[in-house]
């Protein structure tokens, strides 16, 4: 049972357990599951429907890629999962999104808590400019409550290690977060996201602003992180999707410019023998 809503007793056994943040229990890796289920999800910007009737099951501890041409609502769909979509004025969501059976849009569920359990990494790296590398990674902890320094040091180090950035920055933790290269900044953002111990990690085209070398490093990182997190990644790069993901969901746009799910399945199948002809055209590079 996910402790986002349940009692505080579930803890320990996790890699670096973090104490309460103003009363909200923190999800730990010792729990099972992390099955994300989308049922008939529709997303609106005011009256305009951007995402139409998407039903998808995202497997836990695996990487699921959302691919498709521009404007198909992939990023919009991603943002409905961690309830970031509703921060835009006039934006609404219909349908059901559940994590381990818990409806994320239930009235008992606070959006802020959802975002602590489901982390996000953005297209353009966005470390906090006024904070050092250390402070950036610790930002999730510091902004949410008081964690003793000794514990924070541990969390920062383990997060940076998991993000494959520790060796490069351990001598300069006090330097500004923005002093790193693009690829390093993105890994810093990943470290920041995992420092609050989410269950799910959403990545919105995390490599599109980076050079090929940095991209490869991050793809390796994603494969490593998949052992511990459920990862959903939106990508325009088909080759990246085939390299990095276990399952792939292909989206397209209908006549009303709403995005819809064409086909989803194991990555090898989608790329070698898809069921829909539209999927086949897309992965063959005939459009998009």
């Amino acid at each position: 049972m996910l402790d986002m809503v349940s009692e505080k007793s579930k803890r320990a056994k996790a890699a670096a357990p973090v104490e309460q943040h103003d009363g909200a229990p923190v999800a730990t890796l010792a729990d099972q599951g992390g099955l994300l289920a989308l049922g008939g999800v529709e997303a609106f910007y005011g009256a305009f429907r951007a995402v139409n009737n998407v039903s998808l099951e995202v497997q836990p501890r695996a990487v699921t890629a959302l691919i498709g041409p521009s404007g198909c609502g992939k990023s919009t769909l991603l943002r409905t999962i961690n309830r970031m979509h509703e921060t835009i004025p006039g934006a609404t969501v219909k349908g059901s999104i559940t994590l381990d059976g818990i409806d994320l849009y239930d009235t008992d569920v606070d959006a802020v808590r959802v975002r602590r359990v489901i982390g996000m990494v953005f297209q353009k790296p966005n470390p906090f400019p006024t904070m050092s590398i250390y402070e950036n990674v610790a930002a999730g902890l510091r902004l949410l409550g008081r964690t003793p320094k000794s514990e924070m040091d541990g969390v920062v180090e383990s997060s940076l290690r998991r993000a494959a950035l520790w060796d490069e920055v351990k001598e300069k933790l006090k330097q500004p977060g923005t002093s790193l290269s693009g690829g390093q900044q993105q890994r810093l953002c990943i470290a920041r996201a995992i420092a609050v111990q989410p269950r799910v990690l959403l990545m919105d085209e995390p490599c599109s602003a980076l050079d090929p070398v940095a991209t490869l490093k991050i793809e390796e990182l994603i494969r490593e992180l998949a052992a511990d997190y459920t990862i959903v990644i939106v990508t325009h790069n088909m080759q990246q999707a085939s390299r990095v993901s276990d399952s792939t969901a292909f989206f397209s746009m209908d006549e009303n410019r709403a995005g819809y799910l064409v086909e989803a399945g194991p990555t090898p199948m989608i790329f070698t023998s898809p069921k829909e002809s539209l999927t086949e055209s897309y992965v063959a590079g005939r459009f998009g």
């Binding site: 802020v112 966005n126 906090f128």
Partner: protein
């Protein structure tokens, strides 16, 4: 392929005279811009130079540390009065202005924000004499001719400055920063205070310093509210208070050489203070940001 109107030969190869003329025109235009810049800056230098020249003979510790009623009259109560009234005005309008600016930038619906901006811009354009009349007619009956009324009049002028500057710099913080914080599960109010405001802080501070600069130099509102006094009243806001701009005005109108000299000296003190504040702002902006 379409045939271009001019042959490549004609397009590229021009008689030599054209190039020379262009180089000369470039040079002339640069000189014109340069002279214009110098002309713009000249009055400022002339002002600073002339004030310093006239003021230096009269500048002395006695002037700075004595009061008007002492054996050797000085301007201490004016310096203190100015600083006090400005400090009070900023202490009150600073937090209100910042909070208002934050609201307009982060939380107000677009319509409200637009109207708010307009209102503030109008307030910014209020001539200081009008603010003075307002204070005279509305505040003085309640607060009397006092330091309170003086500070209030200054507050009317500083509030829109702080509010507008805060709003502008908050708007300049990229949305990606707010998103990064929200995505970590940080509530909106904490994001605003601890992330957005923190990022915009140098700009907010600049706004405060600009407001302080302005308020130190205001004459008309103070003439009609705090009025000026010869008494040594420190921290007594309940009665008339002296201020540097008032002293300059009164002494400059006097007939004797001594008073006029003191006016020059006070002017220099005021100018130096304003300059120091400006330097402080720039130094802070360069040094305090982590980046």
């Amino acid at each position: 392929m379409r045939t271009p109107a001019v042959s490549l030969h004609e397009a590229l190869l021009q008689p030599g005279a054209h190039d020379l003329r262009r180089a000369r025109t470039d040079w002339i235009m640069q000189r014109i811009f340069q002279v214009a810049a110098l002309l713009a800056v000249l009055p400022l230098f002339a002002l600073v130079f002339y004030v310093t020249l006239r003021a230096l003979p009269w500048l002395s510790p006695t002037l700075l540390f004595n009061n008007p009623l002492d054996q050797q009259p000085g301007i201490l109560n004016a310096v203190v009065g100015s600083l006090q009234m400005t400090a009070l005005a900023i202490l009150v309008t600073g937090p209100i202005g910042i909070a208002g600016g934050v609201y307009l930038s982060e939380f107000a619906p677009r319509r409200v924000a637009a109207i708010g901006e307009l209102v503030i811009d109008i307030m910014l354009g209020i001539p200081s004499i009008v603010a003075g009349i307002f204070a005279f007619l509305v505040l003085v009956p309640i607060l009397g001719f006092s330091g309170w009324a003086g500070s209030a009049a200054l507050g009317v002028l500083t509030l829109p400055i702080v509010m507008r500057t805060t709003q502008e710099v908050m708007r300049l913080v990229p949305p990606s920063i707010r998103e990064a914080s929200l995505a970590l599960g940080v509530p909106v109010w904490r994001t605003t205070l601890l992330v957005t405001v923190r990022t915009a802080l140098p700009g907010v501070l600049t706004g405060l310093v600009l407001a302080t600069s302005r308020s130190l130099g205001e004459t008309a509102p103070l003439l009609m509210t705090a009025r000026g006094t010869n008494a040594e009243n420190f921290l007594d806001f309940g009665t008339t208070m002296n201020a540097m701009p008032i002293v300059i005005y009164q002494y400059a109108n006097a007939a004797d050489e001594r008073s006029i000299g003191q006016a020059w000296a006070t002017a220099l003190v005021l100018m130096v203070l304003a300059l120091l504040l400006n330097v402080l702002v720039r130094w802070r902006t360069v040094n305090s940001r982590v980046a």
